[in-house]
Subunit: 324 residues, 2 copies
């Protein structure tokens, strides 16, 4: 069995053997730049791990894994434009370092290269299955991003709408990454589906945890300013669940706080006090646990020996145990 490091080395080697073309530089330099930014490459690693559940030759899943990574980076380039984000992984975003047009076009070509890598699998049937999974996932990611943009413009968003949005925007790709790995190994469609739902539900649990860490995590260990979502009036599991549970006065108070500017004194503390009044941390833990249980039921249903699952289980458990 390979280690996380082994998988990351395999990916780095594949990337080195398949660089972007040199010309035209203004098109491909931003692609190379984006992929050079520090990243754990979780998604393509999941593809390789899913493949290794079934077969030893994980190299077979490398092109699909790299396609997943390219797709993810394509979405980051375009999302950063839409969010007007100046930084990504501590470095200037593509549209900041170059310009918006470059960001659009380099993102486009990166998406097309993702499809190009998918077809490197030397089996037509598997290639078609991969492109089908990829299309299904990619369309949902676009829909999730659109819903996220829509929510910013709306006053009222329900918790279930929010959960569907984060599912589409982020969790679906984790599920798809796993399903594609299984597909590369020639696994059955049923096993592929169980892995998809495992990733989908673990990914949703991860996102809810991420919302909680933003408000309650140790800023030093989380690596960003605490309460950033609150300051920016973002709709999160915490705010939407509190709005669902709160009495009229508290709901009005929370709504009021979420209309104030980021530099309003005492904002983070006041909003957290409202969260606490409705025991929001317990609700987060409960929602997360429910998703995790369901996720592991799907993983348990995959027909492979337990010892082949160790690394995948460990990796996902570590992701979901960041309680600081």
């Amino acid at each position: 069995m390979l280690s996380l490091n082994d998988f990351q080395s395999l990916l780095a080697g594949y990337a080195r053997r398949h660089p972007f073309p040199d010309d035209p530089p203004m098109l491909y330099e931003p692609c190379t730049y984006m992929l050079s930014l520090r990243s754990k490459r979780l998604r393509p690693v999941l593809t390789l791990m899913a493949c290794e559940l079934f077969i030893d030759e994980v190299e077979r899943a490398l092109p699909a894994a790299w396609a997943v990574e390219l797709f993810h980076n394509f979405t980051l380039i375009h999302d950063d434009i839409m969010d007007a984000a100046p930084l990504r992984r501590g470095q200037p975003t593509v549209h900041t370092r170059w310009n918006v047009n470059t960001g659009i076009l380099s993102g486009d070509v990166m998406l097309i290269f993702a499809y190009k890598h998918l077809l490197k699998v030397h089996n037509d049937r598997i290639a078609v299955q991969l492109v089908n999974i990829f299309n299904r996932v990619a369309i949902q990611v676009c829909e999730g991003q659109q819903r996220d943009l829509d929510f910013e413009q709306r006053d009222e968003v329900s918790l279930s709408e929010y959960l569907y949005m984060i599912e589409q925007k982020t969790a679906v790709l984790l599920g798809g990454a796993l399903e594609m790995g299984a597909c590369c190994a020639g696994a059955s469609a049923v096993d592929g589906m169980h892995l998809y739902y495992f990733g989908l539900q673990a990914g949703t649990a991860f996102q809810i945890q991420d919302d909680w860490l933003d408000a309650y995590g140790d800023p030093e260990r989380v690596g960003k300013q605490v309460g950033g979502d609150i300051l920016q009036n973002k709709k999160t599991f915490l705010t939407l669940k509190t709005l669902e549970l709160a009495d009229e006065a508290d709901r009005a108070a929370l709504r009021e706080w979420l209309r104030t500017p980021a530099d309003t004194p005492g904002k983070v503390e006041a909003v957290r006090a409202l969260f606490d009044r409705y025991d929001i941390s317990a609700h987060v833990a409960e929602a997360k646990a429910k998703l995790q249980r369901s996720a592991y039921e799907h993983l348990d249903a995959v027909k492979v020996p337990l010892d082949r699952q160790t690394l995948l289980r460990q990796t996902v458990e570590q992701l979901l145990e960041r309680d600081h």
Copy 2:
């Protein structure tokens, strides 16, 4: 044999049977809008015509034809953002009617839907061939668009660089549309290649003719302001060929004119006088004729009876005979 109208009806029927989803509306309404704009749908028609060279069941090529049309519209949405174009086919562009973010994301999802349609071909081997052709073409179109953007920033562009840019940006898709039609019919790779080069060279000839019509065409029949390219200081076959042929004084004069604002009195006439001094219309005719000859050599090499080629020949000839 079907007529041009028949092909357009087939495409309209396919589009009706495969609408975009309704939700989220902000993602899909712009896609539906874009495809509702008046268009002769030349590219997907070429796909159907190429299929009909080999087999009677042109319906087999409908999903690929529609993928070509979706890809073309995806490039239009994103190019219009990059060019800050307010109008497309006489109607507001997507980013004008909605906004830039919507243009980016709706374009993205339209590209992914193109791949989705490609896979509707119920033969894995052909599906993989189609996606391969599509990828090769799509990457070149992005490269061509990048070169076009680069040229706007550069003082010196050679005629051969320009020809390569228009080949990638526009002609490659015409060639690819034909090659994909042949592929759907199960034609040989050699026949597919000949059709690709037929489309590539006819498409380049068409673009050169378009440059000439912009300066010399009858504005009423061309349907746009005469000399628009000159007024906007665009690099075209006419300007670059003149710069190549002219003596030093005329080259300097042309360069000077192409730095003046659009409203400089006498601009179009002065630039055309320089074109005329170097007999540019004859050079256009010669370059066009050479490309056409080569294009038809490729079409002649395709192993199908002459009577099956009639409509394709007529259609392309009509495109290349607009001398008004």
